[in-house]
């Protein structure tokens, strides 16, 4: 996750630069993608990727930073009610940033291994918990299609129970809201902005096609790290 301190922000005057520095508030910036916007075609169009990254993810980051600055101010002033009021904006925009940062890593062009089923310990764990790789995909497709309105469907590993689970979250709730010991392996965005321009209201088709560009190598690395 890209982090940098407010100190480096050009827009701030010298006084506020100093002011921010002593408080050490960090803000977030848009992470780069490891592939071109058009590299996931035909599964996901370049137009969707570009808007999704440059507009949607950027807006979550902008509003997250804004909310964090306001929270910082509120705490400095001892203004508890404002601090509490900011929580929903922080959860939504911070969640949007966290979720999308994972999502970009979950995708890879077919030429770079996107869609290749996982081998090693993750592949084995999937067979053990879901019966087969195909059954896992079918389960995630069903759960993802069933999300009302906007949200996410996840393949996660429960670090304590050492087992794989499929979860859904509403809106931009991050996976951690479903359990502190859950680590996300694959998160699929089922907001309309993730597929509308290409798939209109046929979310199941989007879900069916996205598996062609899922980066299982990344998911395996996380799995091996979280569940050695």
């Amino acid at each position: 996750m890209a982090l940098r301190t407010l100190v480096s922000r050009k827009t701030l005057g010298p006084w506020s630069r100093f002011h921010q520095q002593i408080r050490g508030l960090q803000t977030f910036t848009l992470p780069d993608l490891a592939y071109d916007y058009g590299a996931l075609e035909p599964a996901i169009s370049a137009e969707i990727m570009q808007l999704h990254h440059q507009k949607h993810h950027q807006t979550y980051i902008t509003n997250y930073n804004k909310a964090l600055e306001q929270l910082d101010d509120a705490i400095a002033k001892g203004d508890a009610s404002t601090a509490v009021k900011l929580q929903s904006a922080i959860k939504f925009n911070g969640g949007g940033h966290v979720n999308h940062s994972i999502f970009w890593k979950n995708l890879a062009p077919t030429s770079e291994g996107g869609g290749e089923a996982p081998h090693g310990s993750l592949g084995w764990a999937i067979d053990q918990h879901f019966g087969s790789f195909e059954k896992l995909i079918a389960k995630m497709n069903t759960e993802g299609a069933g999300v009302q309105g906007s949200g996410w469907v996840w393949l996660a590993v429960d670090k304590e129970l050492k087992r794989l689970v499929v979860e859904t979250t509403a809106n931009q709730d991050p996976l951690v809201t479903k359990g502190a010991s859950l680590a996300p392996l694959v998160g699929i965005d089922v907001w309309e902005h993730a597929y509308y321009l290409q798939y209109k209201n046929v979310r199941p088709d989007y879900l069916k096609n996205i598996w062609k560009v899922i980066n299982w190598k990344y998911a395996s690395e996380i799995y091996e790290k979280e569940c050695p």
């Binding site: 309105g149 906007s150 907001w191 309309e192 902005h193 509308y196």
Partner: protein
């Protein structure tokens, strides 16, 4: 300001708070009654059907008001394939250009709205218990005290979209007229305040949902409400007067992620204050908004 048109409108509407949709739903009920009689007739002649009919499994959940079943659940004939129809907007698809594109309406009405209608009909063909409810009853029962059944999400979206199409009109925008403006000024301070509240509420939604202008029955005042996903204020017994679809599919083709612009354009160029006025007049059959005006003798 008195509502000179309200009596007339009340006479022509049914005793329900929904909009012009009623007529088509009532029709559906009438049809289903007729068909139901035919069915009973047929069943007498054809005992095999009885076995098949009685063999249907009851749903795995309990209805919130089981006694309603006796009153409303009609015997379902086997040959019904559609219960609700996809009602087209009262204007042409290109009539809201350039503020809402023809393509947006074609997809939003022709695919999203249609899919909600189709899925609802599919549910109703499988769920004997919900068969025969009016739309309002169906929404209240399937809302299930805030734990919506799958049927709720599609039924409410059918209702919401019918209501949304008629919340807009070509050449909309402008300002509310007559007593509606007075009521808005009374309850929001000014029209500008109302407008700002409405747009800020739209921006406060963290996901898919709707913004509404409602008339609150008990408080006897106008209010702005937001609902998430498919929820409609009908389930809280508020009377909806105006709605704005804030699902991404409603604006994505025309405005991408610029929700502020979409909401502002809706207010400036699309909202049908005529429709709101008519709904308000009907609503006043249920909510008394002021002292009656007694003509001077």
């Amino acid at each position: 300001m008195s509502w000179s048109c309200s009596n007339y409108l009340c006479l022509s509407s049914s005793s329900s708070s929904s909009s012009s949709l009623i007529s088509s739903h009532e029709l559906t009920r009438v049809n289903s009654c007729n068909l139901s009689c035919e069915y009973k007739e047929q069943r007498r002649k054809d005992p095999i059907n009885i076995v098949a009919y009685n063999g249907l499994k009851p749903p795995s959940y309990k209805l919130d008001k089981p006694q309603k079943r006796k009153n409303h659940a009609l015997k379902k004939p086997n040959n019904i394939s559609a219960y609700y129809s996809l009602k087209p907007p009262s204007y042409k698809f290109d009539a809201l250009e350039p503020y809402m594109s023809k393509r947006t309406l074609e997809v939003h009405w022709g695919e999203h709205h249609r899919a909600y209608v189709d899925t609802l009909n599919k549910y109703l063909s499988k769920n004997d218990v919900l068969y025969g409810y009016t739309m309002d009853e169906l929404l209240k029962v399937t809302y299930n005290n805030g734990n919506p059944l799958p049927e709720f999400n599609v039924a409410a979206q059918v209702w919401n979209h019918d209501f949304f199409w008629e919340s807009m009109q070509p050449g909309g925008g402008n300002l509310p007229i007559l007593g509606l403006m007075e009521q808005i000024e009374k309850d929001f301070g000014s029209f500008a305040n109302f407008r700002q509240d409405f747009i800020e509420s739209a921006m406060s939604l963290f996901g898919s949902g709707w913004v509404w202008l409602v008339l609150k029955r008990n408080e006897k005042r106008l209010a702005i409400a937001t609902t998430t996903n498919a929820v409609t204020p009908l389930v809280w017994d508020d009377i909806p007067l105006l709605s704005l679809d804030m699902w991404e599919h409603a604006y994505y083709r025309d405005y991408k992620n610029d929700r502020v612009k979409y909401a502002n354009v809706f207010m400036d160029h699309l909202v049908s204050w005529n429709a709101v006025l008519g709904r308000m007049a009907r609503a006043q059959a249920f909510v008394n908004l002021g002292e009656p005006k007694i003509p001077v003798a």
